[in-house]
């Protein structure tokens, strides 16, 4: 295969993203066992679900509400995963090919693989960027998840190490790169206030879902938004 400059550049940006993102898996693994999952359950989640935001959301709600908050945990995970569906739509014409290739592509269609792909200048480089980033993070994320889970399991009383505060900080880290315009900042503050105010009133998990209503209302009315829609993924790279 002839390796063009674009090809090499695509691989280089993929690897940079792979190393940066795989490290999150360590915190996910440790926090998941802290939330009450077994090492097995934690690893199955990273293998099957493979979407950081959704995975953190599910274990976050299990941490506060236990297994009885299951419905809210599943709903929050799925709502956070909805954006992956938009990325898939964006990637479908780039991936092309047979349904089997699309099936494989679907599993690794996440924020990072889509962002690296669409940043490349040629179709070939876009494909290279997508597969290298997606596959690389899939491998790295699953290895670090297992390592984090084993580490979390060995630590015992996690509050002593501040791991509960680390969970909140992890969500803040996923949120941070998305706060570049007025509209998302206002939605974030309103959602946090709604969730905090409803915490004493509703069973664990439901305040988070109620806060999602803020996004739906602002999104449908485009309150404080710009007239023209921005491209779907451009700013989603952490």
């Amino acid at each position: 295969m002839v390796r063009t400059i674009e090809h090499r550049d695509a691989i280089r940006s993929s690897l940079a993203v792979v190393f940066a993102v795989s490290a999150y898996g360590l915190s996910f693994g440790a926090l998941a066992v802290t939330a009450g999952l077994t090492v097995w359950q934690t690893s199955v989640m990273s293998l099957l679900m493979f979407s950081g935001g959704s995975q953190f959301a599910v274990i976050g709600i299990i941490a506060s509400g236990g297994a009885s908050a299951g419905v809210a945990a599943i709903a929050s995970g799925a709502l956070l995963g909805a954006r992956n569906g938009l990325y898939s739509m964006r990637m479908a014409p780039i991936i092309g090919g047979t349904w089997r290739r699309k099936l494989l592509a679907a599993q690794i269609t996440i924020d990072e693989s889509t962002a690296v792909a669409i940043a490349q200048p040629t179709l070939h480089a876009q494909r290279v960027g997508f597969w290298w980033t997606g596959t690389g993070i899939y491998i790295g994320w699953n290895i670090t998840t297992l390592a984090g889970a084993l580490l979390g399991d060995a630590l015992g009383d996690v509050r002593q190490y501040g791991l509960d505060a680390a969970a909140a900080a992890a969500f803040l880290g996923l949120l941070w790169p998305r706060l570049k315009e007025l509209q998302p900042v206002v939605v974030a503050i309103a959602a946090a206030v709604v969730a905090a105010l409803l915490t004493p009133a509703l069973p664990p998990g439901l305040p988070v879902l109620a806060a999602a209503a803020v996004a739906v209302v602002v999104g449908l009315t485009n309150w404080l938004g710009k007239r023209k829609a921005r491209p779907v993924v451009a700013e989603d790279l952490p």
Partner: protein, 101 residues
């Protein structure tokens, strides 16, 4: 509902959403509203999770070492410090406050 049920159902749901995007016609993407709602949904859910993980304790509100730890994390994210370093700093802040009080 068992933890296994939650893990499997939520995983399948997220996987189905990824697959669905490869099956629907691309014209849906041309419309700005679904893209905007989905982007804001992500922001709202993450912000709500920050709030609940910082001050929630089951169905109670509790102000403790987590709040200063998250404030430290916010400052470090603003300074563009890498994710993992911030997480460790936040955990360290909470651990230190708990050890001293």
């Amino acid at each position: 509902m068992s933890i296994w049920t939650i893990v499997l159902l939520s995983s399948v749901a997220v996987l189905m959403l990824k697959l669905a995007g490869y099956l629907v016609p691309a014209s849906v993407l041309e419309r700005p509203t679904p893209a905007r709602v989905s982007g804001l949904l992500t922001v709202a859910l993450l912000a709500a999770l920050v709030a609940v993980q910082t001050i929630g304790a089951g169905q109670q509100v509790s102000i403790d070492a987590r709040l200063p730890a998250v404030a430290v994390a916010a400052g470090l994210f603003a300074l563009r410090v890498p994710f993992v370093v911030v997480i460790i700093a936040a955990a360290g802040t909470a651990a230190l406050i708990r050890a001293l009080t």
